[in-house]
């Protein structure tokens, strides 16, 4: 039986309470009659033989010569790959990156290529740990390359290992990893979880420096991207494409490999999270009750540990290789095949339950800034056409939003929260008055380069990611969040959804239309 597509349910009196993710826990919530619930489609079938499919893609690339034809003895080969922010949650081993890189290395070995380096393309994200690299690439690759310094994390602050390639016609500086720029071939291995991933963004962002990134990781770009998930209306996309073409024209030979996953996101005992509530069987109810009761009894640290140990059963639905733009067009279509859900019109209120994880807190703490970014940055922007909520409408999110930060991973986030957001929540003001200080802070730079810290400027980017939503929305309410932390974000705290709907009435009036985004698994709303 083919998987059922995503759809919109209208809540009536017989609709059971909906299951919302609520950080490292769940919430059962009965929604008002008439609420529209947007459900993702069921998981697409995966490739029967992923290794064969990968080999086929490498031998039959789109608008490019087969990989073996581009490999030769004495060449300089660089393999860059997506970092720990993808996929979410992490895949069960073997990770798609491992499968692909092993295949690429096999071809390289056959061609007698000796000079191979592997780079985690993390831009300004934190460095990947050994355990994370081993999980993504496998022990064989790690042990063969890491001890000799041929597998490493990109360093966007290493002036000796960055190459300036020029400026786009819009005056954007393009500066990327020198090793990548000077290689005879740069193979980039992507995991395209959402439609924004991949394409020219892979190299132009993943291997870039702050000097380069600041041209599109800014408020103006985000406010002009409606949404950044829609490449036809995304200024973020356009900027990356200008830069990517400059990289290509500068002579950097990129062999792009993109992969798509199905949305089989949760393993046992959390498989009930994949299902529609009214289709739950007794076993699903039992699993829900058992897991939620057990989680309630655990301290936060233990709950976090359990959730971050989740390895998703999602697997490859496609793999395409070749020229960047041609590859990305095919990949995007595949992503949308899994995620697109048609929705008729906008509503006054949008509700969502935020999960425990975002791209920037893998094996870490979802701090308040990341809560905001996940809701207003990522999930709000999972649309094409129009946002699910009308301009001036209200976004209601469920998350505990603890006033808690990972001191190693997010040091500049702590200061951003204590200093910058205490001063203003206006992204334009923040960018103007504070970004430079944080971006150039030597201590943050040091931690980014030598420890496992996100770059000093990273919390700013998280806030810029919210800029479109902040401009669009009339109010943001967080249900169940730490009130002080929620207020510091500039949002309103509510203890229950019922309270939140009452508060929303002040903005959108009585009897508003409500849409609930039932994610994860992720979906892309095509709003007409």
């Amino acid at each position: 039986m083919s998987p059922r597509p995503g759809f919109v349910l209208e809540v009536d009196r017989s609709t059971p309470p909906l299951l919302l993710m609520n950080g490292e826990g769940f919430r059962m919530q009965r929604m008002p009659v008439g609420t529209r619930v947007v459900y993702p489609g069921e998981a697409l079938p995966t490739l029967r033989d992923p290794d064969a499919a990968i080999r086929h893609a490498l031998l039959n690339p789109v608008n490019a010569d087969p990989l073996p034809a581009q490999l030769f003895a004495g060449m300089k080969l660089t393999i860059a790959f997506d970092d720990v922010s993808l996929p979410l949650p992490k895949m069960r081993r073997p990770d798609a990156r491992q499968r692909i890189i092993e295949a690429v290395l096999d071809f390289a070995a056959e061609a007698g290529v000796d000079d191979v380096e592997l780079i985690a393309a993390l831009a300004l994200h934190r460095r990947m740990t050994e355990a994370e690299l081993r999980h993504a690439l496998g022990d064989r690759v790690y042990d063969a390359f890491a001890p000799r310094g041929q597998l490493y994390n990109h360093d966007a602050e290493d002036p000796d290992n960055l190459a300036f390639l020029g400026q786009t016609d819009q005056g954007e500086d393009v500066e990327i990893s020198k090793r990548a720029a000077e290689s005879d071939l740069l193979v980039y291995v992507n995991i395209n979880l959402v439609s924004m991933d991949g394409g020219h963004k892979s190299v132009a962002t993943g291997l870039a420096s702050y000097r380069s990134l600041r041209h599109h990781h800014n408020v103006a770009t985000m406010q002009r991207s409606r949404s950044f998930m829609d490449q036809h209306r995304s200024e973020l996309h356009s900027a990356n494409w200008r830069m990517g073409r400059l990289i290509r024209d500068a002579g950097v030979q990129v062999f792009q490999i993109e992969t798509t996953l199905n949305n089989d996101t949760f393993p046992e005992p959390f498989s009930f999270l994949q299902k529609r509530e009214w289709e739950w069987k007794a076993r699903d109810r039992g699993l829900y009750v058992a897991s939620s009761k057990s989680l309630d009894r655990l301290p936060a640290r233990a709950r976090r540990s359990i959730f971050h140990s989740i390895e998703a059963p999602h697997d490859l639905t496609g793999v395409v290789a070749g020229e960047v733009e041609a590859v990305h067009a095919l990949t995007t279509a595949k992503v949308l095949e899994q995620q697109a859900v048609a929705v008729q019109g906008q509503s006054d209120v949008l509700t969502m339950g935020l999960p425990y994880i975002s791209p920037y807190n893998v094996n870490s703490i979802m701090n308040p800034i990341l809560v905001a970014c996940l809701g207003l940055g990522y999930l709000f922007n999972m649309y094409r056409g129009k946002p699910l909520v009308r301009e001036g409408g209200v976004l209601i999110m469920s998350h505990p939003t603890p006033w808690e930060f990972h001191p190693v991973h997010h040091p500049s986030y702590i200061d951003f929260f204590e200093q910058v957001l205490a001063d203003t929540t206006d992204p334009i003001e923040i960018e103007k008055r504070w970004e430079k200080q944080y971006a150039e802070d030597e201590w943050y730079r040091h931690l980014y380069r030598t420890s496992y810290a996100y770059h000093g400027v990273h919390p700013f980017y998280m806030w810029y990611w919210c800029a479109h939503a902040l401009q669009h929305l009339g109010a943001v309410i967080i249900v169940g969040g730490n009130p002080a932390a929620v207020r510091r974000l500039g949002f309103k705290p509510a203890s229950t959804f019922e309270d939140a709907f009452e508060m929303a009435a002040d903005v959108v009036g009585r009897d508003p239309s409500i849409t609930h985004l039932h994610a994860p698994p992720l979906l892309m709303a095509e709003v007409e």
């Binding site: 702590i414 200061d415 204590e418 200093q419 200080q437 802070d441 030597e442 201590w443 040091h446």
Partner: protein
């Protein structure tokens, strides 16, 4: 006359120390402080005047005395029994309002020639605070011969008296003495435009130092620590650019200075730190945020304190005390130094910064236990300065 008097009594000292350790300010209930009826102090000689207090503040050093935790350092420079109270606005017999500058230096003690310090107006460093025709006492409020502000009358030498301008309220005037302490502290180190300074503590002295630094060098960036919401608001209004919780100080200094860290410690820090608390924790914190060759100014009365001084040694940090007031050399826009009495500057600061608003609660002498308990818990109760209000004492008018 009615007065709160502090008597020498070893058992009561011990009781006060125990009670004060359990609950600060509660030394008043069992200790050597008593509300009593005593003879008014006689005039020690020519140039002395009777002062009938209107308001008399409760200072941190008073609380330490009441709870018997003051350092034994003071023993030879006080005389028993004494009437506490050195933050005084009162009236002379002719009705004129005056603020008392309480240091009992050479002039008040009728010592001629005056010591070197008094010669240059540095009365806070007077060598003769235990000599002359008065019994020992570093200040009015610690001397058996002069009386103190926690009573309906005391005597003060003309060198100690400062007339109060009509436009200054009693509440503003009672803040002149602590404001003078703050100005003297703020003027102890050299602060340049653009410098970042830290003020630890947001009680009366801490807030005063913030206001004083802001007045002396408006282009300095002031980071202050404050525990309570009211303190935070006042610190901001008085000129602090950033106000953080005590636990957030290191991070705030790091942000401001861009300092690197060595382990959990700042590799650098700020050039000037005012410790307006004087505890082991505050001093350790001050040392932790001071850059190499910087200066810590100890404004709060420290007493016996255990602190690791390794950073002071390894970073060549200067530790300066700032006690009381005298004469200040004020650098005005590169012009020659302007020599001013600290109290004159304090009158200006009190008026300009409206420090009278720091007086948050007043009590009659009869309710001294409540007053002292309130003062000891002022921050948490949203108060900065607690004072005795003598204006309603009937006996005051009969004297």
């Amino acid at each position: 006359m009615k007065a709160l008097q502090f008597q020498r009594s070893i058992p009561r000292f011990a009781a006060a120390r125990v009670a004060g350790a359990l609950l600060p300010g509660r030394g008043a209930e069992v200790g050597p402080l008593r509300l009593t009826d005593i003879d008014p102090p006689g005039s020690p000689g020519p140039g002395w005047h009777r002062v009938r207090p209107l308001l008399s503040g409760i200072c941190g050093s008073d609380l330490a005395t009441v709870d018997a935790v003051s350092s034994s350092w003071f023993e030879p420079i006080v005389s028993f029994p004494f009437v506490p109270g050195h933050e005084i606005v009162g009236q002379l017999d002719d009705g004129a309002r005056v603020v008392v500058e309480p240091v009992l230096a050479c002039a008040a003690r009728d010592i001629h020639p005056v010591c070197d310090a008094c010669q240059v107006g540095e009365t806070q460093s007077c060598e003769h605070i235990a000599h002359g025709h008065l019994r020992p006492g570093l200040q009015t409020g610690y001397c058996a011969d002069t009386g103190g502000g926690w009573s309906v009358a005391l005597v003060a030498h003309e060198s100690q008296l400062h007339p109060v301008p009509d436009e200054l309220s009693d509440e503003q005037a009672v803040m002149v003495e602590p404001a003078a302490c703050a100005i003297h502290a703020a003027n102890t180190p050299t602060i340049y435009p653009g410098d970042t300074v830290v003020v630890i503590g947001a009680g009366t002295i801490g807030l005063g130092v913030i206001a004083a630094v802001h007045a002396l060098e408006p282009d300095a960036h002031v980071i202050a620590t404050a525990k309570y919401a009211e303190q935070r608001a006042l610190a901001t209004r008085l000129g602090a650019d950033e106000v953080v919780a005590p636990g957030g100080l290191i991070r705030a200094v790091r942000r401001r200075t861009g300092s690197m860290m060595t382990g959990n410690r700042l590799a650098s820090g700020v050039g000037v730190v005012f410790d307006c608390v004087g505890s082991a924790d505050s001093l350790a914190q001050a040392l932790a945020v001071t850059r190499p060759q910087g200066e810590v100014v100890l404004v709060g009365m420290a007493g016996q304190t255990t602190v690791d001084l390794t950073p002071l040694w390894q970073r060549e940090i200067r530790l300066s005390g700032a006690y009381a007031y005298g004469t200040e050399m004020i650098d005005r826009d590169g012009k020659p130094y302007d020599e001013r009495r600290t109290f004159d500057l304090a009158f200006e600061l009190v008026a300009r910064a409206d420090l009278g608003r720091l007086v948050g609660a007043t009590y009659p002498l009869d309710r001294y236990r409540e007053a002292l308990a309130h003062a000891a818990d002022a921050g948490r109760r949203g108060t900065v300065k607690v004072a005795f209000d003598l204006r309603g004492e009937r006996e005051r008018d009969r004297l």
